[in-house]
């Protein structure tokens, strides 16, 4: 296992943030790097607002597979807005509160 930090621009991976398939595209890329043991610096530059289908199929699936602790500690955000960070944090919190109980 290495501990490389990988930079990923979300909008290079997916053309939008509204649907399950778009979330799945992000999930595949993030999963590959988490399996490599990498840390991920995810750029949200010019990203659209993220809806629940997108979040479920990307971060939700990632948490199902790797666990919330691992996902939280392996991914950070750059080029983000306060509300984007808050949306993702709220999603992680909701997952912790509802899904794993």
């Amino acid at each position: 296992m290495n501990s490389t930090t990988i930079d990923i621009d979300m909008m290079d991976v997916t053309r939008g943030t509204s649907t399950n398939p778009q979330g799945a595209a992000l999930f595949i890329v993030l999963k590959k790097h988490l399996l490599d043991g990498s840390r991920i610096r995810l750029s949200l530059k010019d990203a659209s607002p993220m809806c629940s289908s997108f979040l479920n199929s990307s971060f939700g699936e990632l948490i199902d597979e790797f666990g919330l602790v691992k996902v939280r500690s392996s991914i950070s955000l750059v080029h983000y807005t306060a509300s984007q960070a808050s949306t993702l944090k709220a999603y992680f919190d909701a997952y912790e509160r509802y899904v794993k109980k």
Binding site: S48, C51, S52, S53, N56, S76, Y80, A85, A94
Partner: protein
């Protein structure tokens, strides 16, 4: 078959009118002639009428509009409504009406959900509400569209339209589908757990609770409709949903219920808000990494 829209029906009466005139209730006529004599027509009327016409179009019934000079006719002409069922017209395309307070009537297409949400957000941010962040509208649209394709099984997909009314400072959005309806879907999953019947109002209310998932797709986690409601509430908006025999209205922190005389085979979603309640457009944070 001749449909005359000439009176100011209440919302509930309008929905009843649409439902009574569906193909399943009137059969397949030789022709559908529509005459609109209203002085005013709202987005929810237009999208539900579009679903109705689409249903007749799908069974090859010719659609004929009897035109006149009433205000509603002029408005529909402006959004190019009368062209939508002419041969070769792409109802999945976004047709800019040429008036900046209206965004295209659109036949919802699963593959273009994010493009439509992105374009409408940009349109209003750049032309109408400069300096405002239309993300709540983007999310509300995406959640509603996904709900149609994940759960509704609507034969006509659905239609969306929104209109800004500058004099009263309201942006009104309406989305309609002719699917199975939200209560029907919820009751299906409850039927395994409950021994007593559940009414449509209780089922519709439950759909807006976090984690109420029908698990129609493996990715469903039951955040969609509660996220729609949360976004509308955050901007002090009003959300009204009619589905099957139930209607529900969320305004401020209150919830009101309505019953429909005849169950709507589908779902009609309306939301409206004062754009001055939208957040300001945010600056991107470039110099700081965010850790969870």
């Amino acid at each position: 078959m001749h449909l005359l829209l000439d009176s100011t029906l209440s919302e509930v009466e309008w929905i009843d009118f649409i439902e009574r005139n569906r193909v399943k209730n009137v059969g397949v006529p030789d022709e559908l002639q529509i005459e609109i004599r209203q002085s005013f027509i709202e987005p929810y009327q237009i999208v539900s009428l579009a679903c109705l016409i689409e249903e007749f179009d799908q069974v090859d019934v010719p659609i004929v509009f009897s035109r006149n000079h009433c205000s509603a006719d002029m408005y529909l002409n402006h959004v190019r409504f009368f062209e939508y069922w002419t041969q070769g017209f792409d109802r999945h395309a976004f047709i800019t009406p040429g008036k900046r307070t209206t965004f295209a009537l659109w036949k919802i297409s699963q593959s273009r959900i994010s493009i439509y949400a992105d374009e409408s957000k940009k349109y209003f941010e750049n032309l109408v509400f400069t300096g405002k962040d239309l993300s709540p509208l983007h999310i509300a649209l995406s959640e509603t569209f996904n709900n149609i394709f994940d759960h509704a099984e609507s034969g006509v997909d659905g239609f969306v339209l929104y209109q800004y009314y500058p004099r009263v400072h309201r942006l009104n959005t309406a989305i309609c589908d002719f699917g199975v309806g939200i209560p029907s879907k919820i009751k299906t999953i409850w039927s395994d757990r409950l021994r007593t019947p559940v009414n449509d109002q209780d089922a519709l209310r439950a759909a807006f609770i976090n984690r109420m998932s029908t698990k129609t797709t493996p990715q469903n986690r039951g955040f969609g409709l509660s996220n729609l409601l949360g976004n509308i509430r955050n901007i002090k908006g009003e959300l009204i949903v009619y589905s099957n025999a139930a209607g529900i209205r969320f305004v401020e922190n209150n919830v009101y219920y309505r019953s429909l005389p005849a169950a709507l085979g589908g779902t009609l979603v309306k939301f409206s808000f004062d754009p001055s309640n939208l957040p300001k457009k945010e600056e991107e944070i470039d110099n700081e990494e965010y850790f969870f």
